[in-house]
């Protein structure tokens, strides 16, 4: 894992001091709320329905146990004893007082965490594959590049006031567990025909009220040139992106209006003209190597563990079920990746209490080389667990309500905080998620892999457009109603879902989803997942199922 050096530490201390002074000036009345707003947002502080919300960056979703303890401390001391993990691999605290925020950020700085640019019209948290570094299907660990891009983007002098937010994602695996195509800029690590490393650069993805999938700007940018090339991508956006309408300001709208060809021409022209600036942004191999050394894999013990594991699997069906869904293959012999579900039916999706965080920190220290990951579907990961230790781990997790065996199943729902917390929301999403999870848990093993994603407004924080079943909460004539889309996907075959019919009231969502799933099961062929069946049979049978029921 990356450890700050003296430069990073000093930078973050200076940032905390700067922010402390900004809060002081706001409280003294020197800054207007409008002026302060953009400053606090650049530190992740939002004003929500009941209180301030503070969003802390978890770069590329990787945490050390010390960092997780730091997050637990903040939850306990300054919030109501819990935090909320988001689809940006970040954590949010929803009950924060403005006066406390400088001390919170100072405390987090001691564990090398910050809220820099977790909001505002600049670079957001860099995200990646939650299995980075341990997945068998990756070319290389993408996180060293994530850290390089994180540093390059921190308080960027030219790009801190972009037309709108800008989300960068990295992927190095053949599958896509990072939802690359729904980001403003995606970097897919790949090798060219000479075997050299570089990146495919995609631009212009995003959800919200105008969902668009990112398109390729360049197939292959050599690794050394990547910072210079993305500078060109950003510079075109900063000059030509719309600023007259908040909802048309993302780079996806620029790419859509220019067309990918014209956008590419502009980027290539800018890149060609950069000259000496390209040398300044050059990323030499020894810098990459030094960064990679920071992410070197732990020295795994020589272990097999299959015998112990098989014995436990045979003896304990509940454990076997948890292993089936929550344990994933690891590239080191005798080890496994463990996904910890934060989707126990009845709890708020993504919420995690301070004591759960502390338990996970302890388990990470004992069983996973002190490392934890946050996934974009709002679960947590212990990335390096010995197979022989899985049974003990399962027992410990179960005692803390953290062993729900539902990863990838119907009750593993992505859900935004919705109108229960968020001032942008037009409908509640948490109660819908609860109703669906409770209703579907009974038959989720029969249903198999299924991604349900719920957003409480068109801003789409719950990624509903790319859910196998997506649910969007709307407000119509003072009543909440829910528009349902089907067939979306956020993996390597990313697709946006299609609207299946008129919006339904809250009490009909569960029954409607049931009918959609019944239809899927009726038409499904062996090996198919929901989007596959949808692509093959089309929207009609699903519409018909809903129509007949009415």
């Amino acid at each position: 894992m990356y450890r700050y050096d003296e430069f990073d530490r000093k930078f973050l201390e200076e940032r905390v001091a700067q922010y402390r002074d900004q809060v002081r000036r706001r409280l003294a009345g020197q800054l207007s709320e409008d002026e302060f707003r953009s400053l606090r947002l650049m530190n992740g502080l939002y004003l929500q329905l009941h209180a301030y919300m503070l969003r802390i960056s978890i770069p590329y979703g990787t945490l050390s146990s010390a960092q997780l303890r730091g997050l637990a401390h903040v939850a306990r001391r300054w919030d109501k004893g819990y935090g909320h993990f988001t689809t940006r691999q970040n954590i949010q605290y929803h009950w924060i007082r403005l006066e406390d925020t400088p001390d919170i950020l100072a405390h987090l700085a001691t564990v090398q965490l910050h809220g820099i640019q977790t909001s505002g019209n600049s670079f957001r948290n860099i995200t990646t594959d939650p299995f980075a570094g341990v997945a068998a299907d990756e070319i290389e660990d993408p996180r060293p590049y994530g850290e390089i891009v994180r540093q390059w983007s921190a308080l960027h002098p030219e790009f801190s006031f972009l037309p709108r937010k800008f989300k960068i994602v990295l992927n190095a695996a053949s599958d896509d567990r990072a939802a690359v195509k729904i980001h403003d800029l995606g970097l897919n690590l790949r090798r060219n025909e000479k075997g050299e490393l570089g990146f495919e650069v995609l631009v212009g993805g995003g959800l919200g009220r105008t969902p668009i999938l990112a398109q390729t700007v360049r197939d292959f940018v050599p690794r050394r040139e990547v910072l210079a090339y993305i500078t060109a991508c950003l510079r075109v956006y900063n000059q030509y992106g719309r600023r007259d309408n908040l909802f048309k300001s993302r780079v996806k709208i620029l790419v859509q209006s220019l067309g990918i060809e014209k956008y590419r021409q502009e980027v290539e022209a800018e890149y060609a003209a950069m000259g000496a600036e390209r040398d300044e942004l050059d990323l030499p191999d020894d810098v990459v190597a030094a960064m990679q050394a920071q992410f070197a894999p732990p020295s795994y013990p020589d272990t097999n563990g299959d015998a112990e594991l098989n014995q436990a699997l045979a003896a304990e069906p509940d454990f076997a079920r948890w292993v089936k869904y929550n344990v994933k293959p690891h590239k080191a012999v005798g080890h496994a990746i463990v996904v910890i579900s934060l989707k126990q039916p009845g709890r708020i999706t993504g919420d995690c209490s301070a004591s759960q965080m502390e338990l996970l920190a302890e388990l990470a220290d004992r069983l996973s080389f002190g490392e934890i990951r946050i996934t974009h579907d709002q679960n947590m990961v212990l990335p390096h667990v010995r197979k022989a230790a899985l049974y003990d781990l399962w027992l410990r997790l179960g005692a803390a309500d953290l062993a729900t065996p539902n990863i990838g199943l119907a009750s593993d729902i992505i859900c935004c905080p919705g109108m229960d917390y968020c001032s942008l929301a037009t409908a509640r999403s948490i109660p819908i998620s609860h109703a669906l999870a409770t209703n579907l848990a009974k038959r989720e093993e029969e249903i198999g892999p299924l991604q349900i994603k719920i957003s409480g407004c068109i801003n789409a924080c719950g990624h509903h457009h790319v859910g196998h079943i997506g649910i969007l909460g709307l407000e119509k004539n003072g009543a909440e109603s829910y528009q349902i889309t089907i067939g979306g996907s956020d993996n390597a075959q990313a697709a946006l879902g299609g609207i299946v019919g008129p919006a339904v009231p809250a009490h009909e969502v569960a029954a409607t989803v049931d009918r959609l799933i019944d239809t899927y099961l009726r038409f499904r062929r062996p090996g198919e997942q929901f989007p596959d069946t949808y692509r093959r049979v089309g929207l009609a049978p699903f519409k018909e199922a809903l129509y007949v029921a009415r």
Binding site: D5, F11, Q18, Q30, L155, P157, F159, N238, A276
Partner: protein, 170 residues
């Protein structure tokens, strides 16, 4: 009042002409981009310092080659959240060799000053009373090291590290 990037305040020696105003001979004046575009040859031959007020929606690529004709360019921040002039400044300095005074006008606030300096600005049109009350000159010193290369050509953290590693290796 102007604030310079070295932290000192000074009165503005330039007169900013409206489009129907005529400058006195030898007087330091700025003109609008519209006026420059209408008759560039008229202004090129003028004796006396000439400055330009450039709107933030003029891409430097279309204007940049003319930049060196001016002693002063004033870039505009209509609202502080509109960041187009940062890119204009970077390109005027880095690509089009503008060596004159680069000034930020409009909605200039304390917490943007350091970004502006790094993008190549020299001076800032400010409300002096507010700027003194909030100690704006201190804003230039809030950070002393940076991750990105910029117009100030300060060595980045990455390059400083690289030097450290190379020294350690020798």
């Amino acid at each position: 009042m102007l604030l310079d990037r070295n932290g000192s305040f000074r009165p503005d020696p330039w007169r900013h002409l409206a489009d129907d105003e005529v400058p006195a001979s030898g007087e330091a004046v700025t003109i609008t981009f519209k006026r420059w575009q209408a008759e560039p040859e008229h202004w090129v031959d003028r004796t006396g310092p000439l400055g330009l007020r450039l709107p933030n929606d003029v891409p430097p690529a279309s204007f940049g080659p003319a930049a060196t004709r001016f002693a002063l360019i004033v870039l505009n921040f209509p609202r502080f959240i509109d960041g187009r002039a940062y890119t204009q400044a970077r390109l005027l300095r880095g690509r089009f060799g503008f060596k004159g005074e680069l000034r930020a006008g409009g909605n200039v606030l304390r917490d943007q000053l350091l970004f502006m300096v790094r993008c190549g600005f020299d001076s800032f049109e400010v409300d002096a009373e507010r700027a003194r009350a909030e100690d704006w000159p201190q804003a230039f010193r809030e950070f002393d090291q940076f991750y990105q290369p910029a117009a100030d050509h300060r060595e980045t953290i990455l390059r400083q590290r690289l030097r450290g590693w190379q020294a350690a290796a020798e």
